[in-house]
């Protein structure tokens, strides 16, 4: 566990980067520090590896003051990833990754083997281990940065806006990769970002900072979205925090109904009969996988499949969140979210007004924040 005890950092010019910070980052969990620029979150992580020294207060790792060890020795046990990556341009990818093992005096063979293993781990082809950083894309460079931080298997990982400089598609990939890695590795991670979505997606706990180095709230992402401590946090989380909160509710909790279905092989007669009531009917293939909606105004064209209206995207009834289900309903041409299992087989459907009903807070919560 990393503990900040009443830590203040004041620069000689009088700027206060951190104001009396007390915070605990639990072992094996990801603590995300989020806030606007100038809120002291970067200063906070740099205090952990002594890139910055506090004006007052202490930082403890598992109860030991970080200042009880020489900085170089301390840092070799703490992985560090920054936004600009900071790869060594004159070293190959493998040697970049093996930086800390080399510093620790591992033999070259072992260090290289470790570098190759880590490349696979972070989703890089070991065939590029002999290349130089300039030959890699931004996303690949950041993967190397992560591999380099992990090379000596440090228990702690500090990540300062690691995914901020890449495009949204790559960022999302890197975030997925990060979650997969962390699920395996259980490192104690302190992660800095200015992106609330990223904080909520990646954090086990999220600490919100305000300008002047004030810590405003520390909570689980779900608690944060449900009960922001004050107006600042509420504004910072954004106007759609209610919608985002749905990410934390399992779609399993939704009451799905079994929709009226029609086989792909159904005749025109059958189609007319089923559509008699007027409500759209879901057409499924022989394995009951949704193919499209048949609506009344188009029923005359059946069995021509061009009569079908696309389902849009389905949601995994057993694995997705209510957010995915609601999104599926909102985007559905007929206002109905279609739930499927891991093989794409229909498990049920729910209309968006039914989802709205299901997520309405119990009356006891109405009126509280």
């Amino acid at each position: 566990m990393i503990s900040f005890e009443h830590v203040t950092k004041r620069y000689p010019d009088g700027t206060v980067a951190l104001d009396d910070l007390s915070l605990e980052c639990p072992t094996g969990k990801t603590t995300v520090l989020v806030g606007t620029s100038g809120s002291g979150k970067t200063t906070a992580v740099r205090l952990i590896n002594r890139m910055v020294e506090p004006t007052s207060g202490r930082i403890l790792i598992d109860g030991t003051d970080v200042r009880s060890r020489p900085p170089e020795q301390l840092r070799r046990g703490i992985g560090y990833v920054i936004q600009q990556v900071g790869l060594f341009p004159h070293r190959t990818i493998a040697d970049n990754i093996a930086t800390v093992p080399y510093l620790l005096g591992w033999d070259k063979k072992k260090a290289r083997a470790q570098a190759h293993e880590l490349m696979e781990r972070v989703g890089l082809d070991p065939a590029i281990s002999g290349r130089y950083p300039y030959q890699l894309s931004g996303g690949q460079q950041q993967r190397v940065g992560v591999a380099r931080a992990l090379a000596a298997d440090p228990p702690i990982l500090l990540m300062d806006e690691p995914f901020s400089a890449v495009d949204p598609v790559v960022r999302s990939e890197l975030q997925q990769e990060f979650m997969r890695l962390q699920a395996d590795l259980d490192k104690t991670i302190v992660f800095v970002t200015h992106d609330v979505d990223e904080a909520i997606k990646l954090g086990d706990r999220v600490a919100v900072f305000r300008i002047g180095g004030h810590l405003v709230q520390v909570d689980t992402p779900e608690r944060l979205l449900t009960a922001p401590a004050d107006e600042f946090v509420e504004r910072f989380l954004g106007y759609d925090r209610g919608f985002r909160r749905l990410s934390f509710i399992d779609a399993k909790s939704l009451p799905l109904s079994t929709p009226e279905t029609l086989e792909l092989t159904a005749s025109a007669e059958q189609a007319k009969t089923v559509l008699g009531s007027g409500a759209p009917v879901l057409v499924v293939d022989d394995r009951r996988r949704p193919v499209g909606w048949l609506i009344r105004s188009r029923v005359a064209r059946w069995p021509d499949q061009s009569a079908l209206v696309a389902v849009g995207h389905t949601f995994r009834a057993d694995a997705d969140s209510v957010r995915a289900a609601l999104d599926s309903a909102v985007l559905s041409p007929v206002g109905v979210a279609v739930g499927v299992d891991d093989e794409g087989v229909l498990t049920g459907a729910i209309a968006h007004d039914e989802i709205a009903e299901a997520i309405r807070p119990p009356s006891a919560e109405i009126g509280s924040t």
């Binding site: 890139m51 301390l74 510093l103 030959q135 500090l158």
Partner: protein, 229 residues
């Protein structure tokens, strides 16, 4: 141009060329040995840089002849009397190049190195200096070429101390162009050759340099595709 004379004196030219190279390159080597630690120090303590650079400039401004005459008192008629001033002259080129090179190291690289657990000296030597090599090599090329062209003033101390310069004096005194032409041609050729070797050395030392982006990438891909290059 007296070819017969030239053919008769091949050995003299060879000996003078060898001594020319020695007298020109030793100062560059010593200059580098002085400039690297001074450059590293100036980057670490930025206040030191202006006086160091100013000092190097003042030395460079001293007339070479005066410096040599002054030195004769202490070092006498020896190689040192020419090597010392030439060494001092390289500093004005090498120090700023080394400092600029070290300062060209991107801040995130420096920060990452520190955060990985490099001590300051180790970081300077293993990370920052290698990244500064293109700058250092640029300085080294100018210093080498200038040193090769300056050696000939050593002939003022004695025939043995000016490399190919001895032929300029001889030719001038005897009103005979052949040794002058051959001396100049050899001196220029040495400078060009040394420069070419340094360019080659730089390529070998910095396979990571962006300036050669297209070629190495194409090679890597061909290798990966299983085609030998």
């Amino acid at each position: 141009m007296d070819w017969q004379w030239a053919a008769d004196h091949v050995d003299d030219f060879a000996e003078a060329t060898r001594s020319h190279l020695y007298l020109a390159l030793m100062p560059v080597l010593y200059g580098l040995l002085i400039s690297i630690p001074l450059g590293l120090l100036c980057v670490r303590i930025p206040k030191l840089y202006p006086p160091v650079l100013g000092g190097a400039n003042v030395i460079y401004a001293l007339p070479g002849l005066a410096l040599i005459v002054l030195l004769i008192d202490t070092t006498g008629f020896s190689n040192a009397t020419i090597i010392i001033p030439l060494t001092l002259y390289t500093l004005v080129i090498l120090i700023p190049n080394i400092v600029d090179g070290l300062r060209s190291v991107p801040e995130p690289v420096r920060q990452a190195a520190t955060a990985m657990g490099f001590g300051e000296l180790r970081r300077q030597i293993q990370v920052e200096f290698p990244i500064a090599i293109p700058y250092v090599m640029a300085g080294l090329r100018v210093a080498t070429v200038s040193s090769i062209s300056l050696v000939s003033i050593g002939v003022l101390i004695g025939d043995d101390f000016g490399g190919l310069g001895v032929f300029f004096i001889d030719g001038f005194q005897q009103d005979f162009m052949t040794p002058i032409i051959i001396g100049v041609v050899l001196s220029v050729a040495l400078a060009l050759l040394a420069d070419a070797l340094l360019v080659l050395a730089q390529r070998l030392l910095t396979p990571w340099s962006r300036t050669r982006r297209i070629r190495p990438l194409a090679q890597v891909e061909r290798v990966e595709a299983g085609v030998s290059v």
